[in-house]
Assembly symmetry: none
Homo-oligomer: 390 residues x 2
């Protein structure tokens, strides 16, 4: 099949194509004859169309059909229009008017013509017009860049939305589940995951408005002081509703047994308790995101430089406003909610300190090597006097 690389069953509509693409184009023609097609590409109009993925994007599939030359005019043996053979639909009859389509359009809410490729061509004007309409669809521009104007006051809702967008994503650990659950295997997967997540954390910090305005020294200092807290907040949030289970990644969850094998019992106690608290509070993603940002800018107080501190305080101020925007406008007892969320941070701080000490012991015992970035950050946080330096 020239469209999907599947085995072709013949020369359909002018193209060597498979049964599936043939039927798909057939249905598209029928749909087009009775109104515009509402296929919408979920991405940027250049989806890969192969046997496995051809179902995913109708817009790109039809587009490729047309690009490869499919059209009704190419039919070698065209049959007369059988008058829109009515399906077993209950309501209206065939004829000309398509109320069904209209109803559907209305129900869809009919948003602004974002990326919808709608062929308004008449029924007779088949492929060529459709091709023009489909191909003309512009890419949907998935991610608008953040309000990058550094001096301009950004509306809070934009700031919150931006922070939501740049928050470190949930990563998979790619843990080999065929390996036995030994201390080495589990700890190695945790280290690998942490190393991976640390890159996300660094990228995230860079994308926080105002962070880049700080001096390099302070930026590094804050990151070194907060990274474990940021990771732990994510862990706690992912572990919500998982009783006695730490969801390090969707494919790496630690139950009591694994915690014992990985020798995480001493630090898991406070973390599991914190996780229960997260669960009870139903911390939302918005709130989690803001807690992470607060953990970053509050990870340490640099008292030396007045100007620098002023910048940091500006950052704090905007985070405070973000909290106000997000939490305070709740219905029931918003202030108590805010205080409950903020009260989590001392516990997070403690959990981070314990975790850093645990890793530090592993590092100095040479039981297992640390990944590069993880190792670097460990040295940084030691320097930041987060751990005792014996």
């Amino acid at each position: 099949c020239q469209i999907c690389d599947d085995a072709a069953s013949g020369f359909h509509y002018g193209v060597w194509s498979c049964e599936g693409c043939k039927a798909f184009f057939k249905r598209s023609l029928q749909a087009m004859s009775s109104g515009p097609v509402d296929y919408v590409c979920p991405a940027t109009q250049n989806c890969t169309i192969d046997r496995q993925r051809r179902k995913s994007c109708q817009a790109c599939r039809l587009n490729k059909c047309i690009q490869m030359g499919m059209s009704r005019g190419n039919c070698r043996r065209e049959r007369e229009r059988p008058g829109k053979a009515n399906r077993k639909k209950k309501g209206d009859d065939a004829q000309t008017s398509p109320p069904k389509v209209r109803i559907k359009e209305e129900k869809d809410g009919n948003r602004s013509p974002v990326a919808g490729s709608s062929s308004t061509a008449a029924a007779a004007a088949a492929a060529a017009a459709a091709a023009a309409a489909v191909v003309a669809t512009p890419p949907p521009a998935p991610q608008a860049p953040p309000a990058a104007a550094s001096n301009e006051p950004v509306p809070i809702h934009t700031l919150v939305a931006h922070l939501m967008r740049v928050d470190p994503p949930v990563r998979h650990a790619n843990h080999d589940h065929s390996l036995p659950d030994t201390w080495e295997n589990l700890t190695a997967s945790l280290f690998k995951l942490a190393d991976f997540e640390l890159m996300d954390v660094i990228t995230w910090a860079k994308n926080i408005p105002g962070y880049s305005a700080l001096s390099l020294k302070l930026r590094i200092h804050l990151l070194e002081a907060c990274w474990m807290e940021v990771l732990i907040i994510g862990l706690l949030w992912r572990s919500q509703n998982h009783k006695d289970c730490l969801m390090f990644a969707p494919d790496l969850e630690f139950d009591r047994t694994r915690i014992r094998i990985a020798e995480l019992e001493s630090i898991s106690t406070p973390i599991l308790r914190l996780s229960q608290l997260f669960t009870r509070l139903h911390v939302t993603r918005e709130e989690m995101v803001l807690l992470r940002v607060l953990a970053l800018i509050n990870s340490d107080i640099c008292g030396d430089n007045d100007e620098e501190r002023s910048l940091q305080e500006d950052l704090q101020q905007s985070v405070h406003e973000a909290f106000e925007y997000t939490v305070i406008r709740r219905q029931r007892q918003p202030l108590s909610r805010l205080l409950n969320l903020l009260s989590l941070l001392p516990h997070v701080r403690m959990a981070a300190m314990l975790s850093l000490q645990q890793i530090s012991e592993i590092k100095s015992s040479l039981r297992l090597p640390l990944e590069d970035l993880l190792n670097e950050m460990m040295e940084g946080s030691t320097k930041a006097s987060r751990t005792m330096t014996p």
Copy 2:
């Protein structure tokens, strides 16, 4: 729906989501339980997921589900109690609540003659009532008791005034200034002072309304977990406006020289920085008092007992209201002020952990004996897993 922007039908798998995304994630879970899913993105793992496009890319839809925090609450049939089912609420909801609710509540044989307050309108009334319930338990109150009548709602300002009254006083160290500044002399005076202050802390805790209602076990646990933080908050407050100087007592101030002699350099760095922050914020005594109470009730989360936790949450609630009363009604940016104060607590927690570790090392090195009460509390805080137990 946080995933597709459609109308949400509830809080499913940890995310506010629509029926479609809920069912999709459910099917994905079922599929995942029997082998890895084979969703493949037709584009670049970056598809837009909205109401009309969510069907297009299963891979990106599932990924977004995970990113937004969806996960199975527990492997199988999970019965989850929100815990806040019914309490001794006194809020009334005459107008908004439909009568069927009332009927149901009465049929349940709820001893309380009123229905649960689910109305969003009666927030203020409920809050005041909750406060009344908390303070209803009359504390021993060696001085003027805040409320004699047990059912009478006590205004918050009375609570704040009472907390001001029972706050641990500033103690003198009775340090012998004729002695030379050696490590032994200075450390011994610090230990003696801490021991003395600890008695005040215990008395103070007993006088906090609602604290005595907690179980003995929890009372001890909270005290063991928070005492160092309470001492440090007092120290920080006393050290305001004293540059590079720790005012352990009016007659025992540590400048840089004494800090070096007493080998407190490693822990004094964060504490001195915190002290500068206190100075910049101009923390009032009222605020310091409330921070101490918050440090006490937030020193640990006991997750075992539902009823016990409810009492602790009531206590938290009244402290939150005290904060609101004290801080929020300021003139300029009260909320930012509140967040700044709360942001101190993680640093206090860290300073407390470092201090405990320092004392723990002295104790195990037998360089100097600890006073009785101090020794006891050290063991308690070690038990409370505040320090590493090597």
